[in-house]
Amino acid sequence: MSIRGIFDDIFLLELSIAGAVFVVITVLLVVFLVRRRAGAGRPASSRADNIVLEVSYAVALLGIAVFLVVVTAQANHRQQQMQAQFRGAPDVVRVDVTAFQWCWRFQHLDGPASTTGTCQEDPATRPTLVVPIGRPVELRMTSHDVVHALWIPDLALKSDVYPDHTNSLAVTFDHAGTWLGRCSEFCGTHHPTMDFYVRAVPEQEYQQYLASGSPA
């Protein structure tokens, strides 16, 4: 199970419930719009209340609400525990992330490697964070100026990035690949191009990168 997996599960659950509720209400509405149209000649009901029905319905709703609260709180705890586990792992890769107007700097704590860029429309100007496959990675994020947010959409990973405060995200990349990261908190003029990449590479290549400061 990954962070993305937890998101997918809960999203699917809520989407199914929401879809069912939407269909039921819309179908009911449409059916009775036809059956109860003035032309159909049914007189209006003069009933104004059915307290028993309303109270039992409200209790049923409360049951659904409690179910959702419990399930989603558990999912949130699973997610937090997973991150805590990553952070506490002996082989964790620590990276200090600094957001600034308008780009990112990634500073590896295991070696002298550090990368930054200018984040313009040309993708070559975006920094690439290089991480090893299979080892947990902890991103410790702070901002140099205003509030930014680090977002890797494909991994369902997001956190706001504050000045004078450090937030942390921990994640494991289980296969080789390159992911797009964005700034998702509006931060001024060049916010739209404040993107970066994360590249997961085999351990050996990562060690070379750490030593040389550039990917092989």
Partner: protein
């Protein structure tokens, strides 16, 4: 054709009542409300045009119709304009117009305070828009204007300062109006109108205005903090003040979402029950659910801060998800009313009916974004943009138009055209859904909100084109509505009777438009035995003799 100069079917009003100075120094709650509603409607069109420019820019990748900073100014003024200057003022001023009428009162409590509210709101709006005239352009830090970005270090220029001052002033005005409406509903009701005989709309304003009194002052504090920080920018280098601002802001800004929603629950309830020809089903349950909903909505603000890493997410998630109970009870009332009705599909009814499934989309996705593990992914993305456009545009805006078509004849003495009204409605339904549904997809695809432009390789192009087409249809719908109003007012071909819809509540017992003190000798206050007094009368007339309204479930 000869020019028709305001032929009123009623005796001429006392001399001098029609002059501009009479309007601007009025103490009549109907005029105060119409001034506010008129200003808000005009600003709705202006702020809507800004959205057109935004959509034009986003239609295709790598477009630069406007500069990044101008784009940021446009979405800032679009968002803050719609929230502070359009929907919230309409939600509150609708109460200024209707509550005294619905509770059988001749006037609003403290009318000068309500009028001061209008002037402050107007002043605030002018100050905000005057930002366009400054050297560095309007405010551009978004409608929630987080520091340090909104501080003088990162957003220099008078535009941002003017925005802060304008928001402060406008919201102060709205608090004053809300307090007078609440005071009227609680204390200044006419004879026979007990609390439990107040119409659902009036109850919805009670819940709304309680939230205004509790939560809006927090925004005044937040704007004060921002203003202070613009003078002393050092303040916002400390996390304490940055996160403190977010708490102050969202403590206002979540309840304001329900301030922009509840009055339209009331509107939809009134319209649905009127055109279903029956009293609203589950009146007591709805009243209780509105009040509980309002109380809970004071404690959900932190769900806007899930991704800050500095809030107790489980608490705010709990309170937010529990909101589905009162919301579900209100929907039960909507559906049950329609299910037992004798339905007439007039224009206000169409808007009210569309509100039901469309707002539901906003509500159901609201539960999703109240779930932390979903919100971590979708917050600050187009999913959120889609979510609250479904609540505000597909929901509240449809409520606004339902109210508009429903009470326009009452306020002006003129009927709007049904055929144009239907065009307006269908264009708006198609436009709204085509414009906002693709945004859910864009958000899940990874498009952040507040993105001045994107690249061809991002994969956002198709959905953005569809969305822009929808926006154009939506705009056309609004335009048809404008034509409808202009032709109705210009030619005055269709005078409105006192009660064009066979309404249930007291405003339909007086003339259209109502006399200065709402009820007079020609239009006396009818006896009030339930929350639908005119329906009681009709039923009474229908079945002479047999008659205790309580037998039909009327409340005493």
């Amino acid at each position: 054709m000869t020019t028709t100069s305001a032929p009123s079917p009623r005796p001429a009003p006392p001399a001098g009542r029609g002059t501009a100075s009479a309007w601007l120094t009025t103490t009549d709650h109907k005029r105060i409300a119409l001034l506010t509603l008129g200003t808000a409607t005009f600003l709705f069109l202006v702020v809507g045009v800004l959205a057109m420019i935004i959509r034009a820019q986003l239609t295709l990748p790598s477009q630069h119709l406007v500069s990044n900073d101008m784009y940021h100014g446009l979405f800032t003024i679009h968002g803050s304009g719609m929230i502070y200057l359009v929907v919230t003022p309409i939600a509150i001023a609708l109460g200024v117009y209707l509550v005294p009428l619905q509770v059988g009162a001749p006037a609003i409590a403290a009318p000068r305070l309500a009028m001061a509210g209008f002037w402050l709101y107007l002043g605030g709006a002018l100050i905000i828009f005057s930002g366009f005239l400054t050297a560095l352009g309007p405010a551009l830090a978004g409608w929630y204007s987080y520091p340090p970005l909104s501080g003088s270090r990162y957003t220099p220029g008078a535009g941002q300062s003017l925005w802060i001052a304008g928001v402060f002033l406008a919201v102060l005005g709205l608090i004053l109006q809300a307090a007078t409406v609440l005071w009227t509903a609680l204390l200044k009701r006419g004879p026979g109108v007990t609390m439990l005989r107040m119409p659902v709309f009036t109850w919805s304003t009670v819940a709304t205005n309680l939230m205004v009194i509790g939560s809006f002052p927090s925004l005044l504090a937040a704007m004060g903090l921002l203003g202070w920080g613009r003078v002393f920018p050092q303040l916002f280098t400390e996390n304490l003040w940055n996160i403190g601002y977010q708490h102050l802001f969202w403590f206002f800004a979540h309840p304001v979402v329900y301030v922009m929603f509840f009055p339209f629950v009331g509107v939809v309830a009134e319209v649905l029950s009127t055109f279903s020809g029956r009293r609203f089903f589950g009146y007591r349950a709805t009243v209780v659910s509105l009040l509980v909903f309002a109380a809970f909505s004071m404690s959900v603000w932190g769900h806007h801060m899930f991704s800050t890493g500095q809030a107790s997410n489980d608490y705010y998630s709990l309170t937010s998800i529990l909101l589905l109970v009162p919301a579900g009870v209100e929907y039960f009332g909507f559906l049950a009313t329609v299910i037992g009705g004798h339905l007439r599909f007039r224009v206000p009814m169409l808007f009210a009916l569309a509100f039901v499934p469309q707002f539901l989309v906003g509500g159901l996705t609201g539960i999703m974004v109240a779930t932390p593990v979903i919100d971590y992914q979708v917050t600050d993305s187009y999913f959120i943009v889609a979510h609250w456009h479904y609540t505000l545009a597909a929901g509240s805006l449809f409520g606004i138009f339902a109210a508009f078509y429903f009470w326009f004849p009452k306020a002006t003495g003129l009927m709007l055209d049904e055929r144009l009204g239907r065009w307006h409605f269908w264009l708006l339904v198609v436009g709204t859904n085509v414009a906002f549904l693709p945004m859910f997809w864009l958000g899940l695809q990874g498009m952040p909100r507040r993105l001045a432009t994107y690249l061809p390789g991002d994969g956002f192009t198709t959905a953005n084109i569809v969305s822009t087409v929808g926006t154009a249809v939506l705009a056309l719908g609004v335009l048809v509505g404008v034509v409808n109003v202009v032709t109705a007012v210009r030619y005055r071909r269709r005078p409105a009777p006192d009660d064009p819809w066979e309404g249930f509540t007291l405003e339909w017992a007086t003339s259209s438009p109502p006399p200065p003190l709402n009820f007079d000798d020609d239009h006396p206050l009818p006896p009030v035995r339930s929350f639908a007094p005119l329906l009681d009368e009709r039923e009474h007339a229908g079945q002479e003799g047999a008659d205790d309204p309580a037998e039909h479930g009327a409340l005493r």
